[in-house]
């Protein structure tokens, strides 16, 4: 595949992630911050997010597994996950966290467990999508092309 085709494919792929609500504007903000002095910025931030999210999901899972659930602790973890997902533009994960906090307030174990499942699914979904996106970018660069910038409104 030649570079132009790959670039168009990347743009279409990225657009679809926005249309489906998987990513939001914050992701575009991150792309805007990437430049020659900071060429791997997006990948670096997203990698931090992956590490953070997986740790938090594990902590939340353990906390909900206890005989007596420490809801303030669960809420604190969810709050953190909400913050980091919001900062990379992982919209569905963020929204899942917002819903989760309501269950924490109600001290609702079943609701929380269901929510956790949902968030895990959304997390792995966005992780797969972003990894595919980064692979597309790498292919373009390897073929000698440059990664196209998304416009802020489209």
């Amino acid at each position: 595949m030649e570079v132009g085709q790959m670039q168009r494919r990347l743009i279409e792929y990225t657009k679809s992630l926005f249309m489906e609500g998987i990513l939001d504007d914050q992701f575009l903000q991150l792309q805007q911050l990437q430049d020659e002095s900071n060429p791997d910025f997006v990948v670096e931030v997203v990698s931090l997010f992956f590490q953070d999210a997986e740790r938090l999901l594990n902590d939340i899972t353990s906390a909900l597994d206890q005989q007596s659930v420490d809801f303030p602790k669960v809420d604190a973890h969810v709050h953190q996950l909400k913050g980091s997902s919001a900062s990379v533009g992982a919209q569905r994960v963020k929204n899942g966290c917002i819903a989760f906090r309501n269950f924490c307030e109600e001290q609702n174990v079943d609701g929380s467990l269901r929510c956790l499942q949902q968030i895990k699914q959304e997390y792995y979904h966005v992780k797969n999508k972003l990894e595919a996106l980064f692979r597309l970018e790498q292919q373009i660069v390897a073929a000698g092309g440059s990664v196209p910038m998304m416009e802020l409104s489209f």
């Binding site: 903000q29 430049d35 020659e36 931030v45 931090l48 913050g83 919001a86 900062s87 440059s146």
Partner: protein
């Protein structure tokens, strides 16, 4: 046309680039620190980061001074509000901008009462920084 930076040059006009300014980023979340640092580096090269309110207070107490301090609200050891109060009590006159992930309207009064000049919901964006800087330039 494609090309890195093609659409970014317009939005990256540096406001007040004639006037250099220093910032301090105070946040316990390394992702936020990284993002806000990259964001602010579009506007200035003088950036420092610390991870909680106490480190911010200690840094200022040791003589460092900053034009703008971006203060997260929820942090361990010392929160943003506590740190703001201490800094003001120490006589620090920097512009302090509160940054929070909570519902902003309910927190605004707390921020202003503690001595902050402005507050924003995180994450900060290019637009928010530009509007903050133009406000500060106006007031100077």
């Amino acid at each position: 046309m494609f090309g890195k930076g093609a659409s970014s040059s317009k939005s990256m006009e540096i406001i007040g680039s004639e006037k250099k300014f220093s910032v301090l980023i105070v946040d316990d979340d390394p992702i936020i620190r990284k993002i806000h640092s990259a964001l602010l580096s579009k506007f200035t090269k003088e950036i420092q980061e610390v991870k909680n309110g106490k480190e911010a207070v200690d840094l200022c107490r040791s003589g460092a001074s900053f034009d703008i301090i971006f203060m997260d609200k929820e942090m361990p050891i010392m929160t943003g509000l506590e740190a703001t109060k201490e800094l003001r009590a120490m006589g620090v006159n920097s512009t302090i901008v509160g940054v929070t992930s909570c519902d902003l309207s309910s927190e605004r009064n707390d921020f202003i009462a503690a001595g902050q000049n402005q507050c924003y919901e995180k994450p900060l964006t290019i637009e928010k920084i530009k509007s903050l800087l133009s406000e500060l330039n106006k007031n100077n």
